[in-house]
């Protein structure tokens, strides 16, 4: 669980994600299509752009937030129970009543 300082996911984390895709029986191309369908708003041009962008994102530095989003997508897939992985939501949702949400999150933001 080594996130890079600039908010990018590490190579290990990206490898973990690709291993999870293998375990589910999904190729990278199938995953790109899944993202396109989820985010493309039923616009074919848009979907095609998304497929290219997702493919590219695996070949360069990917943001941690993007990888977290991708984990959330595949956590919904039927084969995900075979993957030794737990996907958790953003804690900010639990911190709406406090005035100290930034302090709380930042106190625990150490790796």
């Amino acid at each position: 669980m080594t996130t890079l300082k600039n908010g990018s996911a590490s190579e290990i984390e990206i490898d973990d994600f690709r291993s999870a895709l293998d375990e589910i029986g999904y190729s990278l191309v199938q995953f790109c299509e899944l993202v396109a369908v989820t985010e493309g708003d039923e616009d074919l041009d848009q979907e095609s752009k998304i497929i290219q962008n997702v493919k590219k994102s695996f070949n360069r530095k990917m943001k941690q937030a993007t990888l977290n989003k991708y984990w959330a997508y595949i956590a919904e897939l039927p084969g995900f129970e075979r993957v030794d992985r737990v996907v958790l939501g953003n804690a900010k949702k639990y911190l709406t009543r406090t005035d100290y949400s930034n302090e709380i999150i930042s106190a625990f933001d150490v790796d």
Partner: protein, 149 residues
């Protein structure tokens, strides 16, 4: 620790009942250092009130959950709501995926840091100011997260 008033005597504030007792001598009360000799006349000496652990627990619980808690706490732990909130913030963060072993390690690290900081609550605090106490609490949490890693 003390405030200066326009009187020639000094006063001591009782830590139990807050009443002031005047202390007056013929030549006043001065610093015993031969070089200093500063007069203590016109000063009120009061023992600094340290934050009790129970007060700190209530204050932090309220700050974390955003709910004002007035009732007396039953044990010296944060409220259930604030413990849950802190653990969730520590484990989930901005949304996260963990392998089972990494999740177990993270739970251990989070609970260790919160437990250690709560056990020290009130010990080092000399202020009742919420922002100050909360800020000290979270900087201790950050330090403990590293220690508990």
């Amino acid at each position: 620790m003390f405030e200066k008033i326009n009187k020639d005597h000094l006063e001591l504030t009782c830590p139990e009942c807050d009443n002031n007792t005047k202390v007056k001598t013929d030549d006043g009360v001065k610093c015993s250092s031969s070089e200093c000799q500063t007069s203590f006349g016109g000063m009120i000496f009061k023992r600094k009130k340290y934050l009790t652990r129970a007060t700190a627990v209530l204050l932090i619980s309220g700050a974390v959950t955003g709910i004002t808690l007035n009732e007396k706490i039953e044990d010296e732990r944060l409220s259930y709501e604030s413990e849950f909130t802190l653990m969730t913030a520590c484990i989930n963060r901005y949304g996260r995926s963990y392998s089972t072993s990494a999740l177990e390690a993270r739970i251990e690290q989070c609970s260790c840091s919160v437990r250690k900081v709560v056990n020290n609550l009130g010990v080092d605090s000399s202020s009742n100011d919420t922002d100050e106490v909360v800020s000290a609490f979270f900087s201790s949490v950050k330090a403990m997260m590293r220690e508990c890693d």
